[in-house]
Symmetry: C2
């Protein structure tokens, strides 16, 4: 690759559903990416806005499902300039990224971004993305790594390998899927691990080569779905019957754990996957008592309390470490520990 | 008094407003006595039903304000047989009881009952009421005393004096208004104190005599309001202008603290004034985890949680010792300690 010409980076934004642990705000009919959970901007819009043209990013490509197409178009800051791939059904991230790779020139540098994360330090994100893109230009499959701050059991971990000379990147020795608490504590203590933030930079052709090599069935099935697909305006519809045959597997399992070309760039960018209400509370600006209020609320003698209400007034007296969410006809009250189990509530399960 | 003829007891039910510490369920336009806080029956109805004819009680007399007359008539189990005194405005309990005393024969035994308390053991209440009435027949001014179970600072205390021979009653040495915590702890440790439950038995004439003696101004002003008042069906309306001149004072301050004829009967009747949400939680039947649910709710990993909702589903995860109340467009969340301060919330203050 020519290291002098500026690398053009195509943001590939993966936009699925999910988010039951943010119920009742996140609902099946309006899931997490499309909600203004941090500030006025939805997570999806913020993801697009992090990669503007003036910072050297190409027009984005969005991979989403038909159920969410309306939100995508409505929330795209510049909808007309965006290619949208509409998946007939969700087949996990390996297939979604392969769809995008097949719709791009082989030498395009894809920056794969989940659309339901929050990034507090956008400048740090862009710097890391550029460095990752540079490595991707040399056919590394690059993951942005997050310096872990707690023994999280909900994230994958990257074991950092040797530095890649002349870059800020390192090889990845190993991808570790969600560990148990003991292992996670060990990773944190050893210091050589980073969280896998789910943000990747690939040269499209290099990604497809590795997918072909390690998961030929996925590669072939996605290729068939694209060949038989059709475009309508800015949208591309893979063939539904062919896509139904694609094995559903995450990009981590299908490619990153198997490739010999896995690399990482550490990004100190105040990242959060906002995986539950407690994670959201931590991502938001709190007042001097650790409280956060969105909507009508009054707090007396409270510490580390978060209240979100879409209408009714919420009055809280004497509580510490508590989350209260009012949304439509649902009221959720949970502790930081309880936040992990919100997705198991009947309200979240039986939507 | 003739000790052989059965004493007929006239329940005099005081029915004011108040209850801001039970906001948002208790509201200015529908206060605490008229709510079904314990079981299906409102506190007011339960107060009336505790004194039925078949247990030897006379038809009740209710003292209330015009704003609450609708609820009183609606919730009286046998409205036609009840005399209702409609106060032009609230002038505290000495005046309210004097109104009732002036509308009764001098020898009637009044059993003055607040209408916003809960009594778990009705048989014990009736037994204590009969004993108190017997003492009142001998012109004692009798208060039902509650054996204290905690150093409550929200109640008045009675210091028990000598036994009154041939009865289950004792003289009251002293009435102590709401003490501070240190004093309340001392009372509890000394063992010679009871809570003043606000339930009194008086012979109407004896009460008026003592009021005349210690608060001639109140006695004269109430007498004038009754003289100039008028009856309409079952309702009696004291004259508004005359009643406005009545000094507002509690029966404790005006009469009980001053009389030489104060007596008490201990009543072990599972009494609660339901003074706040925590008191209500304690008065209700809890499940094995100490939880209470009224309305649509789901609790996961919760202990000692009370949820009351008039509509929206409430889901609580991981909480201990917490109260959640949903009423109309208000949501209240408080701890047992915070329950005392609910009345200070803007929602409760600015109704």
């Amino acid at each position: 690759m020519n290291e002098i010409a500026p690398v053009v980076i195509v943001p590939v934004i993966l936009c699925g559903g999910g988010g039951t642990r943010l119920w009742p705000r996140s609902r099946r009919h309006k899931p997490k990416p499309f909600l203004p959970l941090v500030g006025e901007t939805t997570l999806f819009s913020a993801t697009v806005l992090r990669c503007p043209a003036e910072e050297g990013f190409a027009d984005p490509m969005v991979v989403t499902g038909a159920a969410h197409l309306g939100f995508v178009v409505e929330q795209l800051p510049d909808a007309g300039r965006t290619q949208i791939i509409v998946e007939p059904e969700g087949r996990n991230t390996a297939a979604a990224i392969a769809l995008a790779a097949l719709r791009l020139p082989a030498d395009a540098i894809m920056l794969v971004c989940p659309s339901d994360h929050h990034i507090g330090n956008v400048a740090a994100f862009r710097a890391a993305a550029r460095e990752a893109a540079r490595l991707a230009g040399d056919d590394w499959l690059v993951s942005l790594g997050i310096a872990p701050t707690a023994p999280e059991t909900g994230y994958g971990y990257l074991r950092q390998g040797d530095a890649i000379p002349g870059t800020a990147g390192r090889k990845v020795d190993r991808f570790v899927e969600k560990p148990d608490l003991e292992r996670a504590k060990g990773f944190l203590a050893s210091g050589g691990y980073a969280w896998n933030g789910g943000i990747f930079a690939f040269r499209a052709g290099a990604f497809l080569d590795e997918l072909e090599k390690h998961r030929p069935q996925i590669a072939a099935a996605v290729r068939a779905a694209v060949s038989a697909g059709h475009a309508e305006g800015q949208c591309f519809y893979p063939d539904a019957a062919a896509f139904a045959a694609v094995p559903g597997e995450s990009v981590d399992y299908a490619v990153m754990e198997n490739t010999g070309r896995a690399a990482m760039v550490l990004a100190d960018m105040a990242w959060s996957d906002i995986g539950n209400w407690q994670a959201l509370h931590e991502a938001l600006d709190r007042d001097g008592d650790g409280n956060v209020i969105a909507g009508r609320a009054e707090l007396r003698d409270c510490r580390n309390v978060m209240v979100m209400s879409d209408g009714p007034r919420v009055s809280v007296v004497g509580a510490h470490d508590l989350i209260v969410v009012v949304d439509g006809d649902e009221v959720l009250v949970c502790t930081p520990e309880g936040a992990q189990s919100v997705g198991k509530l009947s309200g979240a399960v039986n939507q």
